[in-house]
Symmetry: none
DNA sequence: ACGTAAGCGAGACGGTACGTCCCGTCTTCCA
DNA sequence: TGGAAGACGGGACGTACCGTCTCGCTTACGT
């Protein structure tokens, strides 16, 4: 029973937050992250800089949060057949990475995740690990059902599934797109994973 | 007969160039591209800013060039047996990523590669793609020899090999290390790739 | 029979006004007018900014009013002998300047007085001039009584008395204290003022 | 033999310093110290803010220094007659205080002098004390010559001369000017000081 | 041998953005 | 209605960085 703890004082004006997000997205599209100044955001949003810095501690923080703010919930209902499950998950994951928002934020955060900064840790724990756990659950279930080999290392299996997808996404600018890539990947993997 | 067109005046001091490169690499690893200022590079190298801008036209240019110089030659002599070849390459790749310099710099550059900036493009083309090509060659050769299935998609196979390794490296701070990971990976993959 | 027109609603909390005044005096002495922010006053008084601005229209107004309230009533009963009168007044004046509050605030206000800002004008009129008038009265009376020369310029005489005392106070940090200074001053002056 | 020690690097552009001073004086006259922003100074001087802050650590510092930068040298040649000497010195001192520059800076620094801050100490030592010493010399000489009483306390005598003048200057906005004030003061004082 | 063209360290310069602080007002809830 | 808390727009402050420039000095080369 969580009563929304009302903070004292005048509450944040939600329309201000929205105007800021809107302005950030607009400027990001028009002039890019380098060309976007906080003053410009404030001006475009019709808002004071103080109101921006009251909500985000830095421009970096602002951009990351605004872009990543719309990450869709993840859920899967297993079909009971591992191939279909994996294709569904990879499909969603690919869509997630291709989305403007998530697709832009993830690569920016890789460095943070790697070096284990607070920001990186937060992102890893709230975004990455849950998705990995979900996938791990699907694979473990299939192994339990006897669909996959007993000795399959789930953690490594998750790497084998997501690693290539992420890599393909990161290198997107330098590769020809292959619409069947997910299918090829899953099939090649299952070939080795089947019991 | 002047082969090298000698310019008038005092020649560039090579030790200055080296000090700059060294400073850039150090700072890149310590504070990342965004946190690295040209003044800091100059101070750390014991060099004047003018000497930097005499050699490179901008900070971007400087970083691109220095990173490019970092790339050690990659070569492999196939053993004729694909499993051994792959383990060797992955081992070297892992070592490369674990190396202080490259290992810290790579994650910082992921964002650049993804968004296709000049820097990212350069890094991709001079560092990443050659390594991929090498691996692709090994796999294609093995396929030619009949070790691997005729219908194996080489490009995807490279993703399947390198993606998990990179991912494991990036998530290092949040994962237990598994010394046998490479072997597990290669064996699981070959299970599905063998003819 | 309502003598004092009672306003509707909850009456002002007098303790709030006092807390504000107290906070202003403290901050004024510690950090000066420029270093004193309204937010700091509110925080120190444990009061909301709104409660401050409900009572005073601006920071300037607040300081003026609080300083004005600081002025204790000044009164002297002449002994009928000018030397004793002057020593008494100077003694009180010196004590006033040495008092923590007034002594620290006065030097901070000198600039305001000089440039004739609203604050300075108010301070001059409500604090300085009444004290001068008092002293002038004493001197004029003594002249009337025949103790002092007929042609003594009272205004200048007041300067001659208070100027050195103020100066001595201001330069306090750079001077050795002289406990007999008041006496020496008065005696030297009277030497020239006597009829 | 002081060789002007040439500092390394590009020397400060004197015209920049002058442009800044000029702009400050202009803006000070037009909009006052409160209405003068550092950005406005930079814009008016055609100079970057960095160039201002390279020279002065704050707006306060800038204003004080610019205004006080033109304090004329003090020197006196005794006439051998104390009354003439004192009138001359007081005349110059009054002119000094009435000057735009010094007249505005002194009252602003009184607070600093009083609380003994670095700035105050510096001002006291470089501006105030030398002038006091000069005056003290004149008085001591006259005492030596027998013009003034043996037992005259020089330090207090200096206070008696300068205190009233300073006070009169500070209260200028609230007083009628008296052109003969200096003469009246000196005569009244000498009445008591003469041997 | 000596002048000259260029390299060099130091650091000033204009410009632009950043993130902080303060003022005076406004908005919420509670007493 | 008063009061505490605190958000809001506006605007100044002082800092950091970039890429350019200007000093006085040093180092080679070519005549």
């Amino acid at each position: 029973m969580t009563v929304t703890q009302r903070r004292a004082g005048r509450p944040r004006d939600e329309s201000v937050s929205e105007a800021i997000s809107e302005a950030v997205l607009g400027l990001l599209a028009e002039v890019g992250i380098r060309g976007m100044s906080v003053d410009a955001v404030a001006a475009r949003a019709g808002v004071s800089k103080a109101s921006i810095y009251r909500r985000w501690s830095s421009k970096e923080d602002l951009v990351i949060d605004v872009i990543g703010g719309l990450v869709s919930r993840v859920e899967v209902s297993s079909t009971g057949e591992i191939r279909a499950d994996l294709l569904l998950v990879l499909g969603r994951f690919g869509a997630f990475l291709s989305e403007l928002k998530a697709g832009l934020i993830f690569p920016r955060l890789v460095g943070e995740v790697h070096c284990g900064s607070d920001l990186g840790r937060h992102y890893a724990e709230s975004v990455i690990l849950p998705r990995r756990a979900l996938l791990a659950g699907l694979i473990a279930d299939a192994r339990e059902r006897g669909e996959l080999r007993r000795d399959l290392d789930v953690e490594i299996a998750v790497d084998m599934l997501t690693g290539p997808v992420i890599l393909r996404n990161l290198m997107g600018a330098f590769r020809a797109a292959d619409p069947a890539a997910d299918e090829k990947l899953v099939d090649a993997l299952l070939e080795g994973w089947r019991a």
